[in-house]
């Protein structure tokens, strides 16, 4: 229920529907009858957070338990925050309206680096001390998970426990342990000692970090019960792991307002820039029957008219055609659209295309990532120009009059010729449209090119590389714009300061927590929103803390350097990443996991099993 104090301010803010809860399928429980209350926090707006599949899964996992109640918390937009602070309204959870600081566990999902300032802001709005060391009691326990925690060092000082990898099992284990220790009246330290022993958990305060004089990490030493390396957890069998039968259906429009059906985790491709392609390994598929049944149930309970199949590189799913046949057998009648958001150009068939347009036509997006073959080889995006052209031809013949192409600029080994290659490839796609003898009359073609800035990420072969400076990126963006000679091509790019800050935090260390606190005090939050991003304030914060951000973003590391995330084990071996890095510099490709196992090492997380090899 909404507190009366909140009711008084709701009509003074934009989109009050973000702050009231009560949506269809949200879970209400009697708080006097549960042992554990878990506030699941997404450090961005309601519309972004409610689109996130991981939150839906974990919300359902926890609420299946009788002894625990999981509620949702999002970052209030700046107008709401201002009024909440003015009226002394603490951050509250949407289901009960109760203050977050009264919960037993407060968990943040870290999906992108630019949401870190919101994490701090939310802790402060909740009235919870920011630093782990300042929170003496066992509860509220502040935890974090999500892809960004593969290098959680920049936020490590704020967190009591970090959950590495997939959370369906670890969330329950952590709650079980917390319940036990709460009952026993344990101290926080006693509890953490037990947590650190479990696989999939990282207790940052149990590791001492020492630095060299040149500011690089000298050593990370575990203490108490902490292992040398904290290891990521994976779910072994996706067919039996819990998947929600219903999603909360938001009453206001959110970003991804549809059913999301997960079909597999991991990726066989090994594109060298892609963090997701490495940290979600090994590949594990869900069977088509299970996906089909889960999709059916979700459509029934939500009333959505669109299903999006979720995975990396969806068309690599071994059962994609049978799955689509199964789904279309009931979705067409119900006017439900099936969308595949992640397609590759090298296995896009006409049959697949027809199936996608069975109800209504959605957009087509492909990601060649780089403009020339040499650079595509260097980043191991195993796609040829012929394949891009063939796909464009099929799409145009199939009635599409526009495609969206994703590229990156600032990739390692990139030259200005590679950048110009993006425009040339775009032009060839435009020409392909006009070469089609059956092209629709009176219609032009639109090729939307999105050229984002490459940010080197941990656990990728490019984790040692220097990120292009803001000047280099701007120069390349301008070069790209200048290389386009037709109005049929639209180009969008990212703000370079945003990419720079993302790069700093992606490969940062524990020294950055202070910078974050200072920047937040200056008013930084919602850094991922261009209209809220204050680069000048961030630069002031770095200066005041005596830290050079370029050290993290624009410096090439030696293979011998201790990386801030070396004490975390995500399965993929460092040796493999080094080998891949060397191959990149020789513009040599690596075959995908189904063609030949490259020996990345991730299968050890799953008892030696990897679906790519069976």
């Amino acid at each position: 229920m909404i507190p009366t104090e909140v009711e008084k301010i709701l009509l003074k803010v934009q989109k009050p529907g973000r702050y009231v809860g009560g949506e269809l399928n949200s879970v209400m429980k009697d708080k006097s009858k549960v042992d554990l209350r878990y506030a699941f926090c997404f450090p961005d707006t309601y519309e972004i957070g409610m689109s996130h599949l991981g939150m839906k899964i974990l919300y359902s996992v926890v609420n299946k338990r009788d002894d625990a109640w999981c509620e949702r918390v999002f970052a209030p937009w700046v107008d709401m925050e201002e009024l909440m602070r003015e009226k002394n309204i603490p951050l509250y959870a949407l289901e009960s309206g109760d203050p977050v600081k009264d919960f037993d566990m407060v968990g943040f999902t870290l999906q992108y680096e630019l949401s870190y300032s919101n994490v701090i802001n939310m802790l402060d709005l909740a009235g919870i001390p920011l630093y782990s060391k300042d929170r003496e009691s066992l509860t509220p326990l502040v935890v974090a998970g999500g892809p960004c925690v593969c290098n959680s060092e920049p936020v490590a000082d704020f967190m009591d426990v970090i959950m590495l990898g997939e959370g369906e099992e670890t969330t329950n284990e952590l709650l079980d342990l917390l319940k036990l220790h709460k009952k026993k009246g344990s101290t926080k330290h006693e509890f953490l000692c037990d947590v650190a022993k479990l696989e999939g958990f990282y207790v940052p305060s149990f590791y001492d970090v020492e630095y060299n004089e040149d500011n690089t990490v000298k050593s990370v030493t575990p203490k108490y019960t902490a292992p040398e390396k904290a290891v990521k957890r994976v779910i072994s069998d996706l067919d039996t792991v819990h998947y929600p039968e219903s999603f909360i259906v938001p009453s206001i429009e959110i970003v991804h307002d549809r059913v999301t059906s997960e079909i597999f985790r991991g990726c066989i491709r090994g594109c060298r820039f892609c963090q997701a392609g490495f940290i979600y390994r090994p590949i594990r598929e869900k069977s088509a029957d299970v996906v089909n049944e889960q999709s059916k149930s979700l459509c029934k309970t939500t009333g959505y008219d669109e299903i999006s199949l979720c995975s990396l590189s969806t068309s690599d799913y071994t059962e994609i055609e049978p799955l689509l046949d199964k789904m279309l057998s009931w979705t067409v009648d119900k006017k439900i659209n099936v969308a595949l958001p992640s397609l590759r150009v090298d296995n896009f068939s006409e049959e697949l295309m027809q199936k996608l347009t069975a109800v209504r036509r959605s957009g087509l997006t492909f990601a060649p990532e780089a403009g020339t073959q040499r650079l595509r080889d260097a980043i191991n995006k195993n796609v040829t120009e012929d394949e891009v052209m063939e796909t464009a031809r099929k799409a145009f013949a199939g009635g599409w009059t526009g495609v969206k192409l994703y590229f990156m600029i600032g990739l390692p080994t990139e030259t200005l010729d590679d950048v110009a290659g993006i425009a040339e490839l775009g032009q060839k796609v435009v020409n392909e449209f006009y070469n089609n003898p059956d092209k629709p009359k009176g219609k032009g073609v639109t090729v939307n090119i999105s050229a984002s800035s490459f940010v080197p990420k941990p656990f990728t072969p490019f984790q040692w590389e220097a990120q292009d400076t803001m000047e280099q990126l701007s120069e390349k963006q301008q070069h790209l714009m200048a290389s386009v000679r037709t109005k049929k091509i639209n180009i969008s790019t990212h703000l370079t300061p945003t990419s720079f800050l993302e790069g700093v935090f992606a490969r940062g260390d524990r020294k950055l927590s202070k910078v974050m606190e200072v920047a937040w005090k200056k008013g930084c939050r919602f850094d991922g929103w261009d209209d809220q991003f204050h680069f000048d304030l961030w630069m002031e914060a770095f200066k005041e803390c005596g830290i050079e951000p370029e050290f993290y973003a624009n410096r090439k590391r030696d293979f011998s350097e201790v990386l801030p995330w070396d004490h975390l084990d995500y399965g993929v071996s460092k040796k493999f990443l080094m080998k891949e890095n060397e191959k990149a510099h020789r513009s040599e490709t690596t075959q995908n996991c189904r063609q030949k196992c490259a020996g990345c090492g991730a299968n050890k997380l799953n008892g030696g099993k990897c679906h790519a090899m069976c």
Binding site: P16, V20, G22, S251, I252, E253, T301, G303, Y304, D305
Partner: protein, 225 residues
């Protein structure tokens, strides 16, 4: 294919859901109810749903109307009500399912109950007295967004002309108003604008306000059905 008129409420947290979002919400509700909906026959087939008079954000209502078209002639109104009721979210309750009687364009007025809560009894009393005087006068001007051709302009309107019936009562620190005002496609008075104007004129602002739509009416004060 036949047309069905559904009356539903909008209460509690649902009042913070905008008209556009209610539209989307209902489209999903008809899917969950698995009604044999009639679909439009365009590139993007969707069920036919039409709403009477949108309600402002933050106001509750006992009388929201939605018309849908269904394919089946055999399904009774009672069955539709049952199926629908089972899938509605909190705050949107199905009151009735009937065949439409009047055209949506016939709506010309609406009844509202307004409850204003003040910080003190004195404030409420002062507001009540001053407002009654203002409402009994011949003119109460307010600025309203309007259009002149394609341009958006601010227009001055006399709110008194748009109030058909009024009743103002004081109850401790609360002021209660029962209003029948102009509503519909041509002239429409939002009670929130009236409250805002009264607050401005009297210099007294309520701490909290609840506005509830009680009924929609057509000519001669007949209830819309």
């Amino acid at each position: 294919m036949r047309c069905v008129r559904i009356r539903f409420t909008k209460t509690g947290r649902m009042i913070y859901v905008s008209h556009l979002d209610v539209n989307r919400m209902m489209a999903r509700a008809v899917r969950r109810a698995e009604l044999p909906m009639w679909y439009t026959e365009g590139f993007n087939p969707h069920p036919y749903i039409a709403f009477a008079l949108p309600l402002s954000l933050g106001q509750s209502s006992e009388c929201e109307y939605m018309d849908i078209r269904i394919e089946s002639d055999t399904m009774t109104d009672e069955e539709i009500k049952e199926k629908f009721s089972a899938v509605m979210p909190e705050g949107a309750e199905i009151k009735s399912v009937t065949a439409p009687v009047y055209d949506i364009n016939e709506i010309c007025g609406a009844k509202y109950q307004v409850k204003l809560i003040f910080n003190s009894d004195d404030e409420a009393k002062a507001f009540c007295e001053k407002s009654t005087a203002l409402l009994d006068g011949g003119e109460l001007l307010a600025e309203k967004k309007g259009k002149k051709g394609r341009r958006k302009v601010m227009k001055q309107v006399n709110l008194i002309e748009q109030i058909f019936e009024k009743e103002v009562a004081l109850d401790g620190s609360e002021v209660l108003m029962n209003l029948t005002v102009a509503a519909g496609n041509t002239v429409n008075l939002n009670p929130a604008l009236l409250v805002e104007t009264l607050s401005k004129e009297t210099g007294i602002c309520p701490d909290l306000q609840y506005i509830e739509r009680k009924d929609l009416i057509i000519a001669n004060g007949v209830s819309f059905r």
